[in-house]
Amino acid sequence: MSSTIALILIGVSVLFILGIKFLSSPKTARAGNLVAAAGMLVGLLVLAKPEGGNIWAQGWTFNYTLIVIGTVIGLVIGALGAYSVKMTSMPQMVALFNGLGGGAAALVASLEFLKGAQPQQVAGMDLPVLHDVGAAITIPMLFATLIGSLSFSGSIIAYLKLEGKFEKPHTFPGQNILNGLILLVIIGLCGWLTFHATGHNAIVAFIVMFSLALFFGIAMVMPIGGADMPVVISLLNSFTGLAVAADGFAINNNAMIVAGTLVGSSGTLLTLLMCKAMNRPVTNVLFGAFGSSGGAGAAAAGVVGTVKPIQADEVALLLAYAQRVVVVPGYGMAVAQAQHSVRELTEELGKRGVEVQFAIHPVAGRMPGHMNVLLAEANVPYDQLIEMEQINPSMDRVDVCLVIGANDVVNPAAREEKTSPIYGMPIIDADRCKTCIVMKRSMAAGFAGIENHLFYKDNTRMLFGDAKASLNALVAAVKAS
């Protein structure tokens, strides 16, 4: 690598760091994304081969034609996905892109690992054999293969779970032990390969390791419930970052090392922040098989009171003559595509002098910040969106709390019921306001499969029906009153 390229790559690394930095403030976030993208473009233009020399300055071969075709196909796939996906399905899209990145990282590492393989006579047959390249190259390549393929298969399962395929946790006795054993075998194979990366046996061992890692990604995500997918995607995102960094080691590209490591460490921190928001250690999310151990039945026993339905006209009156209204949005709002109707209702209330705010639980929806994205899409100004910690102290001065399609994040069982699987999770204290209106399609339990005590409280009224239809009825009724 020439020193000019090395210097440019320092600039590229700075662009990545600034990009992530800018992404952490609403005012500069969009610029941050573009800064990181610019860094990527510069890095691509000065891309150099491990032994030096700009890759675009070499003689054009068929391989380069393939590179261009492959890049364009990827661009088209990416653009179609990025611009056609509904805002509600954003988490799935991120999971899918992450899986593709992980798959690419695994492929690059395995191809590098197997690069030196030459056909040779072994036991009378022509078999490919490996020649030792040294542990300093072998270790990162094995690491990238393992983590990348695990991230690939895990992300696909996370995607399918968010799409509603087998979203319940799949568990069987001894599952953690079996997964642990698989992991031990994988690590054992990697350890052996580190010191014996020669001959045909190494290739067989490598392929076995690759397949086991793919399987392990599936086995790791299957037992985790759909509600915990945000944490899983964030974790797999940081995994892919680390795999990319390891690839950077193996092919001697400093920009890849910096970019991958930044994603790895910031992704790990983000994962921990999410777990903190749910008040559960990350080990509990990954190995706890949330809600699988009869949690629903146990929690239902603590329910007292009756469900009290209410009609839209009555709710409209309550809202129109309230001073302060707080909306708690959840995934149900996203599913019903009701965010635009919500904005219409809050605007109508705002005209009448009602103070309207949105209370955003960090893990409402299927991804942290998911609600913010949806409401921003519906043109709700972001200074109306209040985070849980800020709004909870003043919840008892709220006249009407409108819970739209949120469930577990407003379940007081998290405060009151020690046996509940969500006990200890911070919630929005919707039950402490004067009147709580819960908009819901039916009495079905939430994503975590737990009965919600809020529905049975004295100050709670249930407005049954499709969230969008109910909201439109509310808008009409508020206008008329």
Partner: protein
Amino acid sequence: MTIESLQSYNQILVLFIFVLAIFVGFEVISKVPSMLHTPLMSGTNAIHGIILFGGILVLADADTTLVRTLGFVAVVFGSANVFGGFMVTDRMLQMFKKKKK
């Protein structure tokens, strides 16, 4: 210095970069408001699309059909990751505009 000691010196330097980058990664996002968690996850997801570079390097030197095929798949995957990632993040973030009343 001999070639070997130069190589191991280079590897130590690279480790050095790696360790520092870990701390930078922790530091830059330590104050992210939760409303930006999704765009941040999506944005960092796009950044690891830099694996496209790896795919290009592998494919450029491919000499067998197997390596060529798998390298091609890696390039397609990496390209979808990086372009799709940045585009989807931009689409999310363009909605975070403060509205004038």
